[in-house]
């Protein structure tokens, strides 16, 4: 009995029970590819059967167009300017948002003064002020930049402010008792403790910035992929239209992945990210 149980003992790691995963990630990914191929197949059939007339190009035509786009410098400069506007707007929003957020979070008076206005503005998407921006700035990149800044900074302000208010009072009084100066407290204590909030806000804001840049191009004529999509649609160039939207989908995934990865890297010390690594 003892002998047999000790043999079995060796097979099971003590304490931790590792159940064999019924299906591995690899198998799941394989099914994902199968699924994607089926969707592409449906697309191809729908296009070839001309269910929507000639409005839907075939998969082959779309990817051929995509390949030829990849070879043109015009395409790359459009991708470049789209990414640049998004990142510039995002960076501006981050700086402005964090500064304002700390101000609002630490001063009850400023908070009271701004709360109602911010609460009103928060659910209003930047597309609402797009006509105004176009009227004042015209179909230019500064117009797109302003829209991105309007659309991203508010959430960062609000998140930073609640992060600041959430600062551990014990840490604050400890810092004061050590005679730290106000500025030092803000940079050494308040900012780090608000950083998970800021990280979350930035992760959400990054894909949003891309979306707003595209909207500014599509509806306001700002340079970039949005404008190209508008032109492709207006000219009835469905191959290009589908190829460009595909590019946007990929770009969106990249923005999403990079922002998630950056947040996890920058906040690796925070409990919510430690759990993820398990």
């Amino acid at each position: 009995m003892t002998a047999s149980s000790s043999v079995i003992n060796n097979r099971i790691p003590a304490g931790v029970l590792v159940l064999p995963k019924s299906v591995s990630r690899r198998v799941q990914a394989a099914w994902g590819i199968v699924g994607a191929l089926i969707m592409l197949g449906i697309w191809q059939v729908v296009a070839m059967a001309q269910v929507f007339g000639t409005a839907v190009p075939t998969v082959v035509a779309t990817f051929a167009e995509l390949l030829s786009l990849l070879g043109t410098s015009a395409f790359w400069s459009e991708v470049g300017i789209t990414v640049l506007i998004s990142l510039a707007g995002l960076t501006f929003s981050a700086v402005l948002g964090i500064l304002l957020g700390i101000l609002i979070g630490t001063s009850p008076v400023i908070r009271a003064l701004s709360l109602a206005i911010f609460e009103f503005l928060k659910p209003i998407p930047p597309i609402v002020i797009l006509p105004l921006a176009v009227m004042v700035l015209g179909p230019t990149w500064p117009m797109a930049f302003v829209l991105v800044a309007f659309g991203c900074s508010l959430a960062i302000v609000m998140q930073t402010a609640s992060g600041v208010q959430d600062t551990d009072p014990v840490a604050l009084s400890t810092a004061r008792s050590y005679g730290m100066k106000a500025l030092e407290i803000k940079t050494r204590i308040v900012l780090p403790s608000a950083s998970p909030y800021i990280g979350t806000a930035m992760r959400v804001a990054a894909p949003t910035a891309l979306v707003i840049t595209v909207v500014a191009g599509l509806l306001g004529g700002a340079p970039g992929l949005g404008k190209s999509i508008y032109q492709a649609q207006a000219a009835g160039n469905t191959d290009t239209l589908f190829a460009l939207v595909t590019v946007l989908g990929l770009l969106g995934l990249v923005f999403h992945a990079v922002s998630t990865w950056t947040e996890a890297k920058a906040l690796h010390w925070h409990p919510s990210h430690r759990e993820v690594s398990l």
Partner: protein, 258 residues
């Protein structure tokens, strides 16, 4: 106590003061971009409360709710199915994530080339935009349901319908609602965008038209109306959410207090 009162007064006063400032400073404005607020308000009531209320305001709102409801409901139902059927989920997940990456507004030109410029196009676009956030939230919410709740269902032999309506749906409720909230915001954006892109009806179309014909007071009136709608729709949603999820919010409050 006294300082708290001061803060509340400040909070109420600040937007009023801001509006007052806007009114008085703009009153003598001759800048064609920034007309007097009084003029904007006159156009606001002329346009939106009378002339275009039925033809545009009601139409826009109707499209918004129809599209949001269709997309949201489909998102919940399909999210449910995908959460329960692993094979189907594995097959669909990469495609779903790809579609999630596409800005919903960028799909509008495609839908326009497919089905034209009518109301169906706008509803279809809004539904498409509302679909993905709710789909992903519902899927995650249902997959995240605690195993012991499922065990309770089995031990007490709940019927499949009871499990779905009385356990799984409420358990995933908080996540479904946050998905729906994102869906609603995206729906609102797409409502405006679909009207701005080649349509002659709706608040978005009117506002863009006003801008293109340099009728800046009309444009401002449109912006104000859209802003107010965005704000009110969100408030309405919050009200419904806090009713439906009162149990969740209550338990979270207690948890924080502890």
């Amino acid at each position: 106590m006294k300082s708290k009162l001061v803060l509340i007064i400040l909070g109420v006063a600040s937007p009023l003061v801001a509006l007052g400032l806007w009114w008085s400073v703009s009153e003598t404005s001759t800048n064609s971009f920034f007309p007097p607020l009084s003029q904007i308000m006159t156009r606001f009531s002329d346009l939106w409360l009378f002339e275009h209320f039925q033809s545009d305001v009601l139409v826009s709102m109707g499209n918004l709710f129809a599209g949001f409801l269709i997309g949201g409901l489909l998102g919940i139902v399909i999210g449910f199915v995908l959460a329960m059927v692993p094979l189907l989920r594995w097959m669909c997940e990469p495609t779903i994530h790809f579609f999630r990456g596409i800005p919903p507004v960028a799909l509008i030109p495609i839908v326009i080339t497919l089905i034209g410029f009518g109301s169906e196009m706008r509803i279809a676009n809004i539904a498409l935009a509302a679909f993905f956030p709710t789909l992903i939230a519902a899927m995650d919410g249902i997959r995240g349901i605690d195993g012991s709740l499922k065990d309770v269902c089995s031990v007490y032999r709940l019927t499949p319908t009871e499990r779905i309506t009385r356990v799984y749906l409420p358990a995933a409720g908080p996540q479904i609602f946050s998905g729906l909230q994102v869906s609603l915001q995206v729906s609102f954006v797409v409502m405006i965008a679909s009207e701005m892109l080649g349509s002659s009806q709706g608040i978005g179309a009117m506002t863009l038209l006003a801008q293109q014909s340099f009728m800046s007071a009309d444009m401002w009136a449109g912006i104000l109306l859209l802003g107010v709608i965005g704000f009110l729709v969100n408030i309405g949603f919050e009200a419904i959410k806090s009713r439906v999820l009162s149990w969740h919010l209550g338990s979270k409050r207690l948890e924080r207090a502890a």
